[in-house]
Point group: C2
Chain length 324, copies 2
């Protein structure tokens, strides 16, 4: 067994952190390391937590970590933050709150930031999860902000998806629910002491009723979480959430759906890896030679269209590959 693999599998925080940073920076070595680690992955249960900005996901994650630790489960947390695509700087914000777990060797928290406009965040998230799996974390929590396609791609790495809603967030949130409905395994109505809570709960329940008529086996439960300032009641609600996630895990195993989800996850991973193997080297090569700039000039002046340029690049690239 490779020494790096050995150390990460033994839970080496420093090496694991560095590898995640290398993944984020798209260093070629990171790919080779993930390849070696891969055989030791796939044993963690992965929970996705998503919802609109301001829904209180980080507070829930923080409480969930504490609940899982009480059960002696080791936990990895991957927070995928919105950030500037140009400066590359991560905004960690309230991630700082999670520092109370910093002394606990059973908890490993890392953030991923988007770097550059050419995407690949879902891919990086997948590989960062693999590192935490290799570290032997029982549970990995992936927290994403927002509900764009990118976020859905990221959340597809999870086995159980918790969608967090808040009362009184306006019309568009209501429409969003329909999109989130498809990916949610457990709903949390957070800040459930705000006006509009009853309405949200009723609407959600009736939508779930409608959906269950389609013969879906799992009926997503709704966990109502009140204000974090009432510690006793809050902890009870978090315990309920933790229980519901566990029930869903059990359901996934017994129904055979876990295998199904892992298959879907593997297909997404092929797609991500193909992009890394096919697309990225081409772009990088063209950028380094300045060809990308001159192609962009052609397109800008409408002397060529992007498809014709792409076909030309693809043709050249294949020939180059073959000549090696």
């Amino acid at each position: 067994m490779d020494s790096l693999v050995k150390k990460i599998c033994a839970g080496d925080v420093r090496l694991a952190s560095r590898l995640i940073r290398d993944i984020e920076d798209k260093l070629p070595e990171a790919k080779a390391k993930i390849k070696k680690l891969y055989a030791y992955t796939g044993k963690s249960f992965i929970i996705g937590i998503t919802g609109a900005p301001g829904a209180g996901k980080s507070t829930l994650t923080d409480a969930l970590i504490a609940a899982l630790r009480k059960k002696n489960k080791t936990v990895g947390v991957l927070a995928v933050d919105p950030t500037s695509p140009f400066t590359g700087g991560a905004i960690l914000g309230d991630r700082i709150r999670m520092q109370r777990h910093a002394e606990d060797a059973g908890v490993f928290v890392r953030s991923l930031a988007t770097r550059g406009a050419l995407g690949g965040l879902s891919h990086a998230a997948g590989d960062a999860i693999h590192v935490m799996e290799a570290m032997g974390k029982d549970i990995i929590i992936v927290e994403t902000v927002g509900i764009g396609q990118q976020e859905i791609d990221i959340i597809n790495h999870a086995h159980s998806v918790v969608v967090v809603l808040v009362p009184g967030m306006g019309d568009e949130i209501q429409t969003m629910k329909a999109g989130l409905m498809e990916i949610a395994d457990v709903f949390v109505v957070n800040k459930a002491n705000r006006p509009g809570t009853n309405q949200l709960q009723t609407e959600l329940a009736s939508m779930l009723n409608l959906a269950s008529k389609n013969g879906k086996g799992w009926q997503p439960p709704i966990v109502m979480v009140g204000d974090a300032f009432e510690p006793g009641a809050f902890a009870e609600k978090i315990a309920e959430l933790e229980r519901k996630i566990e029930e869903h895990h059990k359901y996934l195993i017994e129904s055979g759906k876990l295998t199904e989800r892992m298959h879907r996850k593997a297909m997404a991973e092929i797609n991500d890896a193909l992009s890394a193997c096919l697309l990225e080297p081409v772009i990088q090569k063209l950028a380094s030679t300045g060809e990308l700039d001159s192609f962009a000039e052609k397109i800008k002046s409408r002397k060529a269209d992007p498809y014709t340029v792409a076909e030309e690049i693809a043709k050249n690239y294949f020939i180059r590959q073959d000549k090696k």
Copy 2:
């Protein structure tokens, strides 16, 4: 000149709509049609409107259309909606409000929905914008929900970006602002009669002050928009917004930044087109032969890692290409 090109350039709504639908459905013919249209694109001014769900972007877009029509500008609107990645159904929601422009031949409104988990929404948005450009629209408004990477990719198609904020949306919105700061050319503080308005305005102004010390040439203005129920005041604010966008347009031209942005846009288009030419055909081929499923099985059982599989696929694919 090709008959389809001729008709779309003459503003044929039926053909333009069909082409946008074909782009969304990723029909190969759509690609060939965009190739032909491309020479007639690039003359519209493209405005991106983005912000969190519930920020009131659609209401602003609607009012902006009316303001632009008063100046006899023709307008295309592309609304990129969150939707289910599994059912493929678009949630049009409050897009219905824009129907009041339906009788106006100078306005062309279309929605784009995400289809399937394999992405490509930014690419589809780019091509849909090209169709509206060929139709000769003076202004094209691209409205996106959320602030994920995908949304930033989409908003990169725009020349001027309007970021809409709302007071009292919680901590995470505040952190988001830092990410949005980089892409915003004009800020709107919407619902600026809510509690927290002054605080938001002050914070925003001080962040902008900080940013301007970096010697940035354009100082993004903040437009405060009150409740839509006061028609006179609201219309005045929208006129101000429209004026600020026009000022930014002028700045872009005079500073040479427009050329810069169009170059960046062309690079993103190459990336999108390469993905369409290189990646998608491989995935489609593998899916149709069932190979994708057996590769996924291998990965699921940890008999192989995704990178090794991707490299194998890439190698086979290149050889196949060459043997043709």
